[in-house]
Symmetry: C2
C-alpha cells in the first residue's frame, strides 16, 4: 500500500510539535508560557453554553439540513445587517463545521485539477493544502509590512494567469493580524471581476479588532465567497462551527457538495450558536475583546526591548508577527531554544510560508498580561 503523494506536500504544523513538546515539559514539572496556541484562552461564554445544554436536554441530537438550521442562517443574516449594515440573504449562508469546512467547500466549488489560486505568503497554512487537495496549485504572493502583509492589486495582476481561478485573502490575517485596507479591497474586487476569477475572503478574526471595526468584503463585493466561524470572536473553537457566504446562484451546488462531504454541521453547536448574538453574550465578548486589546498594547510596547521589530500596529486577531532577525538568523531554532531554555512557546515563521519565514515568529497573546510580561522577561535572558 502506498501513501498518496499529496502527503509529501503537507508539512506538519510546527506549532503542534511545539505544543506537544510544551505539554511534555509541563508534565515533567516545567512552567511553560503558551504564546503558540491559536485560540482564545476564554471558555465559551455562559449564555452559549447554557443554550447548548438546553438543546441537548430537548433532544436536538439529530442530523440537521446540510446547510444548517434555517434559524441560525437567519440569525447570521441579521448579524450582517446589525453589525455591518449589509444585506445578505439567509439562503446564501451555508453553516459549516468550522471555517475549516467552509474553506474546503469554497475551494471544492472553484478549483479544478490544474487551477491556480493566489494567496499571501505568510498565510494560514491549511489554505495551501485545501487548494492542493482539489488538484490546484497554490501560488504564493510574498507580502511585507509595506502593504500591511496583504497582497497589492499590482502584485495580484502580475501573478494572475489563465489558470488562476481565485484569490484568497484573510482580514485580519493569520499570522500578521493586519486588515486589508478598504481601497486595496476595492481594487482587488475590480481586478477579480475583470479576470473572471473568484474572490475568497476569510473573515474568521472579525470582531477581534482593536480601536477599529473590520468591514466585511460583502459590503463591496456581493459576489465574494466569505468565510467566517464561531471559533475566534465567539470563542467556540472546540464546537466546530463556521459558515460560508456564497454569491447568489451558488447555493445549490454548495449545499450539494456540503451534503456529500460533511452530511451536516454539529447540531448541538448550531443550537448553542443561536445564543451567540444575544446582548448578554455580546457584552461578555466585548469585555474579552478589550482584554485582547490590552494584551496587544502591552506586547507592542514591551517586545521591542528584546530587539524584535514590529514594523506596524496590527489591528486585529490575537497575533503579533515579529521580525527577530536582530537576535537570530534561524527563527525555528530560536523557537526551540525559547521553549527549551526559558519555557516560552512561540511559533516559527516557517509554519506560514517561506517568505521571510526564518526571520519571523508569531506570538499569540492568548494569555494574560502578567504572563506576557513574564514571557518577555524570560525571553530577555535568552538574548546573545
Amino acid at each position: 500500500m502506498k501513501l498518496a503523494s499529496r502527503l509529501d506536500h503537507i508539512a506538519p504544523f510546527q506549532v503542534m510539535a511545539i505544543l506537544a513538546k510544551a505539554r511534555a515539559l509541563e508534565a515533567a514539572g516545567r512552567d511553560i508560557i503558551h504564546l503558540e496556541v491559536g485560540e482564545p484562552d476564554f471558555a465559551t461564554p455562559a449564555p452559549i453554553v447554557a443554550a447548548g445544554q438546553r438543546a441537548l436536554a430537548e433532544g436536538h441530537t439529530f442530523y440537521t439540513a446540510a446547510e444548517g438550521l434555517i434559524e441560525l442562517r437567519m440569525a447570521l443574516a441579521q448579524w450582517y445587517r446589525q453589525r455591518y449594515d449589509v444585506a445578505v440573504s439567509p439562503e446564501r449562508i451555508i453553516v459549516t463545521t468550522g471555517a475549516s469546512s467552509a474553506l474546503q467547500l469554497a475551494l471544492g466549488l472553484l478549483v479544478e485539477p490544474g487551477s491556480e489560486v493566489l494567496l499571501a505568503d505568510p498565510t494560514y497554512p491549511c489554505n495551501r493544502h485545501f487548494v492542493s487537495l482539489f488538484g490546484g496549485t497554490p501560488v504564493a504572493l510574498p507580502v511585507g509590512p509595506d502593504t500591511r502583509y496583504q497582497p497589492s492589486a499590482a502584485q495580484v495582476a502580475t501573478a494572475w494567469c489563465e489558470r488562476t481561478v481565485a484569490l484568497m485573502l484573510a482580514s485580519p490575517g493569520n499570522p500578521t493580524g493586519t486588515l486589508l485596507p478598504s481601497d486595496t479591497l476595492a481594487e482587488l474586487v475590480t481586478l477579480c471581476r475583470e479576470k473572471g476569477g473568484a474572490l475568497i475572503v476569510d473573515e474568521i478574526y472579525h470582531g477581534l479588532t482593536y480601536g477599529v471595526d473590520a468591514e466585511t468584503a460583502l459590503r463591496q463585493a456581493d459576489d465574494a465567497f466569505v468565510i467566517n466561524s464561531f471559533s475566534k470572536y465567539f470563542q467556540m473553537t472546540g464546537w466546530r462551527l463556521g459558515w460560508l457566504v456564497v454569491p447568489e446562484g451558488w447555493q445549490e451546488p454548495a449545499i450539494r457538495l456540503a451534503q456529500n462531504l460533511f452530511l451536516c454541521p454539529p447540531a448541538p453547536a448550531q443550537q448553542a450558536a443561536l445564543a451567540a448574538f444575544e446582548p448578554a453574550t455580546l457584552a461578555i465578548l466585548e469585555e474579552r475583546r478589550a482584554e485582547f486589546a490590552r494584551r496587544r498594547d502591552f506586547l507592542l510596547s514591551a517586545l521591542p526591548a528584546l530587539g524584535w521589530k514590529l514594523p506596524l500596529v496590527p489591528e486585529g486577531a490575537f497575533y503579533l508577527y515579529a521580525d527577530v532577525s536582530a537576535v537570530t538568523d534561524d527563527s525555528f531554532a530560536y523557537c526551540q531554544r525559547a521553549l527549551d531554555e526559558v519555557g516560552v512557546a512561540i511559533t516559527p515563521g516557517v509554519d506560514f510560508g517561506e517568505y521571510g519565514a526564518k526571520r519571523h515568529v508569531r506570538v499569540a497573546y492568548t494569555t494574560g498580561v502578567a504572563r506576557l510580561a513574564e514571557a518577555v522577561e524570560r525571553l530577555a535572558t535568552l538574548r546573545g
Copy 2:
C-alpha cells in the same frame, strides 16, 4: 466564475428532495410516514447527553488534538477488546467528525489522481464522491442477493487493474443491510494483500445487527482501514463523531492530514462519547436494538403482500432493500407516487447506484411498528 466540474458528477441525494417534499406536505397538513430517513428515530441515550452537558459546564469548549482525546481513543481500544476480542492500539485510532470525515481521511491517504477504487453497486452514495474528490475513479461492482449484495473475490479479482489502489466494503451495508460473509472477507483480505492494495471497511452499522453479531474486519486484517461512527448504534448522528482505524505506521500521515482538513473533531461530542460504553448506556442501546429487530421482522413478513420481493433476510442496519419490479418498472416514479398519493416516504434505488436501481427501493425502519403497519396498508392501496 466557473463551477468546478466535479459538481457535474455529484448528484443530489434523492432522499433529501423526498425529505424536503415530505416536510412541505406535512406543513400543509398531510400526515406523512417517514421511511426514508437514514438515522435512528431515538434521541441520544440520556447518559451520553448528561456527559455532554457536564463537559460543557466544565468548559470543554476548546480545540482538542486533531486525532481526538486520548481517553476516547483508549475507550475505543477497550471497546474493540471487549466487544470483538481484538487488540487495537489506541495510537491506530483517529477520532473524526463522523464517519464522513473518516471516509474522506482514508481516501485522502490512499487515492492519487488516476487511481481506481472498487466499490459495490448499490452502495452509500458519498463513497463515489469521496473517491472523485481526490482525483480517483470509483469503479462499480454490481452486486445482487446471490452474494448478499457484497462483492465476491472473483468479481474483485476481475475488476482489479494496475490503477486500483483500494477496495471499499461496508458491512452491514447501506442500502442493503447485509453482512459480508466471513469467508468472503478472508478471500478479499488475501486478494488485497496480493495486489498490494488497501482494504477499507465501513462498519458504521455495527451493533445494529439482529440475532447475530458482526465481526470487525480488524480480526482478520490488522492492515485494513476500518471506518466507524457514533452516529448509528450510539445514536449520536447530529453530534458528528466517528473514527478511523489505520494500519500500523499510517498514524502520522493520517493525523497530519486530519489536522489540515478538520483541525479536530467536536470537543463536546468527544467528551459525551466517553459515556457511550457505560453499562447504563449499553442497556438502553440493546433495548433499542431489540426494537429495530422487531421492526425488521414485521416488515419482512408484511411487505411481500405488496408484491415486493425481499430475496434474503438482511442481518443489520435499519434498511430493507426491496425489489419492487412486480409493481413498477420505475422505482423513482413509484416513490414520488407513494409520497404524493398515500403519504409514505421511501427512497428510490437510484440514490445508491445504477445496477438494478429502477427496480429497487430502500425502506428505513426508523419508525415504530404501528406506523410501519399503516405504511404497508397505505402502500397496498397504491398497487395496480
